[in-house]
Amino acid sequence: MHPAVDASDGELARAVAGRAPGASDAAESELYRRFAPRVRLYGLRHLRDEESARDLVQQVMLLTIEKLRRGDVRDPDQIASFVLGTSRTMAIAARRTDARRERLREAFLAPDAFAAPDVGATLDLDRLEHCLAQLADRERSVVSLTFYAESSAAAVGADLGVSEGNVRVIRHRALAKLRACVLAERQAS
């Protein structure tokens, strides 16, 4: 057996499969390290909320490890598909819960009663703000409408009076500039 960090996903899953808790801690940790960020991204993409995405990670990874230990994952070599399938199922359930929570929130609480996700923990917001200021006005508008207002390319195009295809081009170019700027400032500091 390779050290866990060098093992394939399937090798890690097989190392956990049918084993008692504690018998394959290194493989379980490595599986978590690899898949938790992917489940979080899936959660963010489909649930659009950091807290819900974190909950999804805990639920999916716990269930995955449990099922592996019990030998309930039919093909450990396809562990990525298993984790994705579990994420899909649990995200659907979470969406229903979130919709209920949102209705309650709108009925009983002020709009700022829930704290915004702590994005600053992973990204220097001052740096990003500086990089956003370097963008052309049109690029900044597209970026804000896309990533803050969560508008589709078609909606952004209708809003700004440009074509959907043009929005995609502007968005792609702006994002590349932002990435390069954030990276350059990170390296400089």
């Binding site: 390779h2 060098d6 093992a7 394939s8 996903d9 690899r34 898949f35 960020p37 992917r38 991204l41 899936y42 963010l44 993409r45 950091e50 990525a80 598909s81 984790v83 994705l84 002020a110 709009p111 700022d112 915004a116 994005v119 600053g120 992973t122 990204l123 917001l125 990003l128 703000e129 956003l132 200021a133 052309a136 006005d137 049109r138 900044r140 508008s141 970026v143 804000s144 409408l145 896309t146 990533f147 803050y148 207002a149 969560e150 508008s151 589709s152 390319a153 909606a155 209708a158 809003d159 700004l160 009076g161 995609r168 968005r171 792609h172 994002l175 590349a176 932002l178 990435r179 954030v182």
Partner: protein, 186 residues
């Protein structure tokens, strides 16, 4: 082994996926790939991180430039405290940003029919240029241009008159001029 990706997903596809612009039929196959590929999921993480950062800055009122009505509505829905001034062509309006304001939105009414894009020049005393925004696309409903500035920035300005000049981006034709009599609110 976490080998390098043999078939990397194009950046545009990752962005389309994140923004919901990817055709629904392409989603499942892409997600299968993302769950089994460390490289591509790390690149998607980069997109998600910037997207989250842009949203976080906006929610904090750290947003500047031209905004659409949709963006203004979103800011207000999220509890960002907006102070808004609306100006007709040729009008001078007294203004200030007060403690507690997050952003100041200046809505410049104008007849923008037939105009593709505009430029906005902001000048202070002695025509000193304070800002210039170029090639601003005109929205589908051409009635006004809305300019957002963090209130903290406005609060830091001294008492002064600020002139705003709107021109067509294509031929520099003057569309309208406006003025804000800004009072430093401390």
């Amino acid at each position: 082994m976490t080998a390098p990706c043999a078939s990397p997903v194009a950046d545009e596809v990752l962005v389309d996926y994140w923004t919901g612009d990817l055709p629904a039929a392409d989603g499942p196959a892409l997600e299968e790939h993302l769950f089994s590929c460390a490289d591509c999921s790390a690149r998607l993480e980069g997109v998600a991180s910037i997207a989250g950062g842009v949203a976080a800055l906006a929610r904090q009122g750290r947003i500047t430039g031209i905004i659409s009505r949709a963006l203004l509505n979103r800011l207000q829905r999220d509890g960002v405290r907006v102070r808004q001034y609306t100006l007709d062509p040729g009008e001078t309006v007294p203004c200030a940003a007060f403690p507690g304001d997050d952003v100041v939105v200046t809505a410049l009414n104008a007849n923008l029919a037939g105009v593709r894009a505009v430029s906005l020049r902001v000048t202070g005393p002695n025509d000193a240029v304070m800002g210039e925004l170029n090639d601003i696309p005109v929205a589908a409903s051409p009635a006004a241009v809305m300019w957002v500035t963090p209130a903290a920035l406005i609060r830091s300005l001294p008492t002064q008159r600020v002139r705003l000049t709107l021109r067509s981006a294509d031929d520099a034709r003057l569309i309208a001029e406006y003025a804000l009599d800004h009072t430093h609110a401390g």
